[in-house]
């Protein structure tokens, strides 16, 4: 009996964004990475092309991440005082496909490093690894607005992914990206309407930037509102495929950062004997968060635990197999 399978007919696809640039493209990356381009819902290869794998990133901080769970010390403790060495270890040893540098040191409360220092850190990491880079500020807009331009200029030609732009604060980072041809992270607070509006505002500043946006819908961790961001991403992706060009951007999420804020990832085994062994629980909390978002359309996953990254990588291998 032949079952007539149901394939959705979509009018649009997700835009493709290329990250990084090789030497003949004006950069120094060993290769570029393309994200987005989906013509169907996640991994439904039978109804449209899924041309690019979701990309696995590890996060690197430019200060020692004393607030991270102690279990990370054995993985990163030997390198985490040197962002370049840390990045190199992530790529060479743990298989990160990209690196995200979080410039925590720029935070006025955490060292207040100067814009020039921040740019120098980026240069140093660019020198240490060949993969394309994601650079985000310390999270305090008034300071971050000062560092975007120096970084964008210092890394001109490298086709970075730089962020973050927010509804109340998008102009400085957008101009920095425009002037030096980088890509931008447009972040909205678990709100699809703001997500769309911010894309429009960036596109109004520069039509060229419209094709360089990666959306960060702000993801929540498993157990802490994941279903809100999951549904927002599903709606955005459905909207994109049905023709809403202002939502048709690839999506990024800070999976590791969010998952490791959860009590379930961090509570020591002896405090919560009913929850099982802590590090394994934490990395599976991160893994499960990532796997859920893979089903709602995430394109770039910023991970933290190297073992979680490994599991997700092999799961993506499986999900990318043709199923038509």
């Amino acid at each position: 009996m032949a079952v007539e399978i149901l394939k959705e007919k979509y009018r649009n696809k997700v835009g493709e964004v290329v990250l990084g640039a090789t030497s003949d493209q004006g950069g120094t990356r060993s290769h570029t990475i393309t994200v987005g381009g989906e013509e169907a819902l996640p991994f439904l290869h039978f109804e449209g092309e899924i041309p690019n794998r979701p990309v696995l990133v590890l996060e690197v901080w430019d200060i020692v991440p004393t607030e991270w769970n102690p279990c990370f010390e054995k993985h990163y403790g030997d390198v985490w005082s040197d962002p370049a060495a840390w990045a190199r270890k992530c790529v060479e040893e743990f298989g990160a496909e990209m690196i995200q540098i979080r410039l925590k040191s720029a935070d006025p409360d955490l060292g207040d490093s100067s814009p020039e220092d921040c740019a120098a850190i980026v240069k140093k990491v660019l020198g240490a690894v060949g993969v394309p880079l994601i650079i985000v500020g310390c999270g305090k807009p008034e300071k971050d607005n000062l560092i975007y331009n120096p970084i964008a200029e210092a890394a001109a030609g490298e086709n970075l992914l730089l962020g973050v732009a927010e509804l109340e604060n998008y102009k400085a980072v957008t101009s920095a990206c425009m002037a030096n041809q980088h890509n931008i992270i447009a972040q909205s607070p678990i709100d699809i309407n703001i997500c769309k509006q911010l894309n429009i505002l960036i596109a109004e500043m520069s039509t060229a930037m419209a094709n360089r946006i990666i959306v960060d819908p702000t993801i929540a961790a498993l157990g802490y509102g994941i279903e809100y961001s999951y549904s927002i991403m599903e709606r955005a992706r459905n909207g994109a495929l049905q023709g809403d060009k202002m939502l048709a951007m690839p999506m990024i999420g800070n999976v590791g950062l969010e998952a490791w804020r959860a009590k379930e990832a961090n509570s020591p085994t002896e405090d919560e004997p009913g929850w099982g062994e802590q590090e394994e629980r934490g990395l599976l909390w991160e893994t499960t968060t990532a796997m859920a978002y893979l089903q709602s359309g995430i394109d770039i996953l910023v991970m933290r635990h190297p073992e979680a990254l490994k599991v997700i990588k092999s799961s993506i291998d499986d999900l990318m197999k043709d199923n038509s």
């Binding site: 498993l222 379930e264 394994e280 629980r281 599976l284 499960t288 796997m291 197999k321 199923n323």
Partner: protein, 442 residues
């Protein structure tokens, strides 16, 4: 959606006899489609046509129950492809697999103890699957007996040989286990067995086509307590097939796929198995069977199930009470917020990362956020003051200072008057809490 006019028209005699009072059979079909006429007014409609038209009024996916008493697991009756369109109704049954070559009793005991408590909720691993790997009827039966002795939760019996299944059912049929599985080779016997014992039956083809064919044959044997397995085991193929089961049942009312589904993990590595189960759980499996049995492996999956099956229309609330962050003392600061879970968890996360032990008073606002609750008069000075009283804060701390969200700074005066406490206006966004607490409490 019911049948369309053209679908009904196909079952009508197409004679345009006008005896129903309408000029054409097509007009009559349209009247039926919009429920303005009844099929009885057509004197010439056949019994087959009647039966076909009747079945179209059933829900798109049938409900099937596994287990008995307090441990019944209800599966199916889903109506959506995306949870944001309405909601998912019956949470996926998560089953731990025990082989009859394992120490079944020990594993079952461990399984039965798997219950988790987090954020005020209890999560339970609700099913246990026992698989015949030995090929030995006596051994399988013994394993079933051992498992049944250790847990009352709903069971799934996995054996391909109807004779072996019959032996097992002799022990546990009254527990209404899911019989897995009817295949092209054994379906006649398996169906007879499941039907005679009144147990739900899993149907496994080697493809979607073969599964549909098998369902048709089993329905012809007058048995409909079915659960579907497309027979695929590669993650991506299972995802595609589960998607087709759901889509065809819901969008096309394809009757042969109008049953709940089951997916069994294929990975050996427990981490990869959890990841694979997460795919099936997210996309439409009504039962997921996995071998992983450790607490740290199941807690994330059960949490995702809980989150996925919440009602998106209904804001979820945390219990309105006083929460400790870290180990607060009698001098620790107190923050007040609503009991909208997202707000609460974000505030909690920020307070936690401030590294200053604190308390958070979550006020009952029916689970809505700060500004909405304020506008709705559910987060007023009177209500907050009453919550402070009720929380027992006054016995726990020495000071009389409370931090309110910056968005409701306007409440400061009234709340001070109402409560007699000193009110500090906190940041508007939770992200400002770290700095705020450093500035004020470090």
């Amino acid at each position: 959606m019911g049948l369309t006019g053209l679908e009904i028209y196909r079952h009508l005699p197409k004679t345009n006899c006008k005896e129903c009072g309408l000029p054409t059979c097509l007009a009559f079909a349209m009247a039926l489609a919009s429920a303005k006429a009844s099929l009885d007014t057509c004197p010439y409609v056949t019994d087959e046509a009647k039966a076909a038209l009747d079945s179209a009024s059933a829900p798109p996916i049938k409900m099937v129950k596994v287990g008995v008493g307090d441990h019944i697991v209800e599966l199916g009756e889903e109506t959506e492809i995306f949870r944001h369109d309405k909601r998912f109704f019956h949470p996926t049954g998560i089953a731990v697999l025990i082989s009859d070559t394992d120490d079944a009793a020990a594993k079952a005991e461990k399984f039965d103890a798997l219950e988790f408590h987090r954020v005020g909720m209890d999560y339970i691993t609700d099913m246990v699957a026992v698989k015949c790997d030995s090929g030995d009827a006596a051994k399988f039966k013994a394993a079933i007996e051992a498992v049944a002795g250790k847990t009352k939760k709903a069971m799934i019996l996995l054996a391909e040989d109807p004779a072996i299944m019959e032996g097992a059912l002799a022990v546990v049929a009254d527990r209404k286990p899911l019989v897995y599985a009817a295949t092209a080779e054994n379906y006649a016997k398996m169906t007879a067995l499941a039907k005679s014992k009144g147990c739900p039956l899993a149907v496994r083809g080697k493809s979607l086509d073969e599964t549909a064919e098998l369902v048709e044959k089993i329905v012809a044997l007058d048995y409909k307590e079915l659960v579907l397995d497309s027979g695929a085991c590669e993650t991506s193929k299972v995802l595609a097939n589960l998607t087709q089961f759901r889509r065809l049942a819901v969008r096309k009312k394809y009757r042969l796929f109008g049953y709940p589904t089951i997916a069994i993990t294929s990975k050996e590595d427990p981490r990869e198995e959890v990841a694979q189960a997460c795919v099936y759980l997210s996309k439409y499996a009504d039962i997921v069977v996995l071998k992983a049995c450790e607490k740290q492996q199941l807690l994330p999956l059960l949490s995702w199930r809980q989150n996925l099956y919440t009602d998106p229309q209904k804001p979820i609330a945390v219990e309105a009470k006083l929460y400790d962050v870290g180990t607060p003392s009698e001098n620790s600061p107190v923050y007040v917020t609503t009991n909208f879970s997202l707000t609460y968890f974000i505030v909690e996360g920020e307070v936690e990362s401030s590294r200053i032990p604190s308390r958070i008073l979550s006020v009952d606002t029916n689970g809505i956020s700060v500004l909405t609750a304020y506008a709705d008069n559910k987060f007023s000075a009177e209500i907050i003051a009453a919550a402070i009283k009720k929380s027992g804060l006054e016995e726990k701390i020495k000071h009389r200072k409370i931090v309110i969200p910056g968005y409701v700074a306007v409440l400061k005066g009234a709340l001070e008057e109402e409560s007699g406490w000193e009110v500090m206006v906190g940041p508007r966004e939770a992200s400002g809490i770290t700095k705020f607490s450093k500035d004020n409490f470090a």
